[in-house]
């Protein structure tokens, strides 16, 4: 078996009427924009030649409209290239008959979609078993296999749940299970995690990595997030305006970017990697005002089971923090509340990076307070949320 499982040779895909004219212009080096202006033809892909190694995660990255979705849909012939060849294990996909193409889709490839592509008239099990069902497998066997796939993506116990009752992350697990149930040689994933929120996304990336390492499947993964590309990819291909710019390992790409465009793309990675306070701060459960009585403050702390409470004025400006210990002492000695507020507390701004505030957060005995320029309280950052953001 060769190390290359999928190979594309000079694959182009054009949308429009005057495709021949467009092709001629492209060969002379015209850009996507020029071609569109001159001929009205959209260049989704032009002259893509790629080799995708077996058993690896191959990531294709590019901005919106660069042709990623078109490319990945050529691998299972949901789209048919205008010209060029695609070899799958040496078999020319362009030459398959309808029947052969169906068989190919049933056995060799499976796809995971950005907005999941799940059928809400079926439950989880019905969705996961779909691929096996259309290939004619008997009910008992396909449900058995579907259950295994569901377990593989840690959704055991949710077999009978309806799709609409699941969260985004769980839906994409169903999408992944549906693809895995068919036991394909290649998994095609078109921005599968783009619709998920950041924490769930990390979770899913980890899940995908561990499944891929365990099963050794070839994964072709589309993303527009360089961070995700570098985290997952054994190989990364960058596309721009329908053309392939560079294919390399993440290390290779960072050390030897092919041009400025790639360099800029990689630079943006370092910035996006930075999680800011905005992403991890939470709203404090309760606040008191400086002129509230001690009793009130004690009641607030008791009813929320907290050992300190933030003091803000009417404009939400932060005055300080009141600890339970101080409050109890003040009540006993009959001291006024405003005299025992701790005013010297750790503050941070909403756009500070998590890395910056980490030492502060770890040392401070209370959660960090997040304030704007006018000292208005926006939220707090607990030690736990800082630490869990690092995972």
């Amino acid at each position: 078996m060769s190390d290359i499982i999928v190979e594309t040779r000079h694959v182009s895909k054009l949308y429009g009427i005057r495709r021949e004219d467009a092709m001629r212009m492209l060969r002379k080096g015209a850009t996507k924009e020029e071609v569109l202006k001159e001929t009205g033809v959209t260049t989704a892909l032009y002259d893509i030649s790629l080799q995708i190694p077996r058993g690896k995660i191959f990531v294709i990255i590019g901005l919106s409209g660069s042709g990623k979705s078109t490319m990945i849909r050529c691998f299972n012939r949901l789209h048919r290239p205008t010209s060029g060849t695609i070899l799958f294990d040496g078999v020319d996909l362009m030459k398959l008959s309808k029947q052969e193409l169906r068989e190919f889709r049933r056995r060799k490839v499976a796809m995971v979609f950005q907005s999941f592509g799940l059928m809400n008239h079926r439950n989880v099990l019905g969705n996961v078993a779909y691929g096996l069902e259309v290939s004619g497998m008997a009910r008992g066997e396909r449900e058995q296999r579907a259950r295994e796939a569901i377990e593989l993506v840690s959704l055991k116990g949710w077999e009978e749940a309806m799709i609409d009752s699941l969260s985004g992350g769980m839906r994409q697990r169903v999408g992944l299970a549906r693809a895995l149930a068919n036991d394909p040689e290649v998994l095609l994933m078109d921005e599968p995690f783009s619709a998920l929120d950041p924490l769930v996304r990390k979770d899913m990336q980890f899940e995908l990595l561990s499944i891929q390492r365990r099963l050794g499947k070839t994964v072709i993964f589309i993303t527009h997030d360089i961070d995700e590309a570098f985290r997952l990819g054994d190989m990364v291909a960058i596309m721009r305006d329908g053309r392939l710019i560079q294919v390399d390992t993440p290390e290779g790409m960072s050390t030897k970017p092919a041009n400025d465009y790639v360099r800029r793309f990689i630079d943006s990675a370092d910035k996006s990697k930075v999680l800011t306070v905005r992403n991890i701060m939470i709203t404090p459960v309760s606040l008191i005002k400086p002129d509230d009585g001690i009793d009130h403050a004690l009641r607030v702390m008791r009813s929320n089971a907290i050992s300190s409470v933030y003091v803000v004025d009417n404009q939400m400006k932060l005055t300080g923090i009141l600890t339970l210990l101080d409050a109890v002492r003040a009540k006993r000695d009959n001291i006024e509340l405003s005299k025992i507020i701790l005013k010297d507390i750790a503050k941070t701004s909403i756009d500070a990076s998590v890395e910056e505030i980490m030492p502060l957060a770890v040392e401070s005995p209370y959660p960090l307070t997040v304030v704007d320029e006018e000292q208005r309280l926006l939220g707090i950052v607990t030690k736990a949320s800082v630490l869990s953001s690092l995972l």
Binding site: R73, N76, L78, L101, R102, E103, F104, R105, R106, V109, A110, M111, F113, Q114, S115, F116, G117, L118, M119, N120, H121, R122, N123, G126, Y130, G131, E133, V134, S135, M162, D164, R178, N182, L188
Partner: protein, 290 residues
């Protein structure tokens, strides 16, 4: 000075309407065996439905309406309300006329669905066919219904068969439209997913597109039913018996109360059919399942 010529259109062609009418009649006569076959089939279809309806004891029908109303709307109150409405028709002595009307409406709806659903599916698949047929659908829907009555009578004579045909033509449009629309509106990624797993065209249609479009298709079925109901009085002019005929007679004799009572019965029947089917559809939608 005579200026009439300014206000009337100056050119006319002399249409030989006689010749056209004759040709149509000749056509009808030449293929009378064919049309008679259709007429016989439809007449006996209507007859069969009527036979069934008139052999269902009244209290069973009332109970059925109660049950459907209760199930569909999850309220005992609506069940009771609907069965009382049905009883009102019976109390005014219109029970058997209602059965006659119902059998023509049901026959019309069933035939309309038989043709409308597949046509809707075809239209959803082909932009070409869609562009071709859409004007025809517009025409079918906006043409004054009375115009359908003439050819219906020429080809199928007076009676329930003509009534069914006229009903079908008029009522078929919404189910075609909404079936086609529903299938087109199925999420593209869902369709792509089904295709990417190697579904055949038929698997895609029956396992994915139709179930996903079901709420919309059912809305079309419901509208078709309502439009068929709205043809009841019109159809009585070509010999359909039942509540519509009762209204027609009342109009001819200017009997206000008789017309009002029969008319109300038509309205009640329409409301019942609408609410009961609606409740059932929306419940189906919620249930989901494979």
């Amino acid at each position: 000075m005579n200026v009439d010529w300014l206000f009337d259109f100056p050119y006319r062609i002399k249409l030989n309407t006689d010749a056209i009418d004759k040709a149509v009649r000749g056509f009808a006569a030449a293929y009378s065996a064919f049309f008679d076959g259709i007429k016989m089939t439809l007449t006996s279809f209507v007859g069969a439905i009527n036979w069934v309806l008139s052999h269902v004891p009244w209290f069973i029908l009332v109970a059925l309406v109660f049950f459907l109303g209760y199930k569909g709307h999850k309220k005992v109150r609506s069940g009771i309300l609907y069965s009382i409405l049905l009883c009102i028709i019976g109390i005014f002595g219109l029970w058997s006329l209602m059965n006659l009307t119902l059998s023509i409406v049901l026959a019309g709806v069933i035939v309309a669905l038989l043709f409308g659903l597949p046509i809707g599916v075809l239209l959803s698949n082909s932009e070409h066919a869609n562009r071709l047929i859409r004007p025809l659908l517009d025409m079918m829907q906006t043409m004054p219904v009375f115009v359908y009555l003439i050819p219906a009578v020429i080809f199928f004579g007076m009676g329930s068969a003509s009534a069914v045909i006229a009903t079908v033509i008029y009522a078929m449009v919404p189910v075609i439209r909404l079936t086609s629309l529903g299938i087109r509106q199925v999420n593209t990624e869902v369709v792509e997913a089904a295709r990417s797993f190697g579904s055949t065209k038929l698997q895609l249609l029956f396992k994915v597109q139709v179930p996903q479009a079901l709420p919309t298709i059912m809305a079309g079925v419901n509208q078709t039913l309502m439009m068929a109901m709205s043809m009841v009085v019109t159809c009585s002019m070509i010999g359909a018996r039942g509540l519509g005929n009762e209204v027609l007679i009342a109009v001819n004799r200017i009997e206000i109360s008789r017309g009002f009572i029969a008319g109300s019965a038509v309205v009640i029947l329409a409301i019942l059919l609408d609410r009961l089917t609606q409740g059932w559809f929306s419940e189906k939608k919620k249930e989901g399942g494979e």
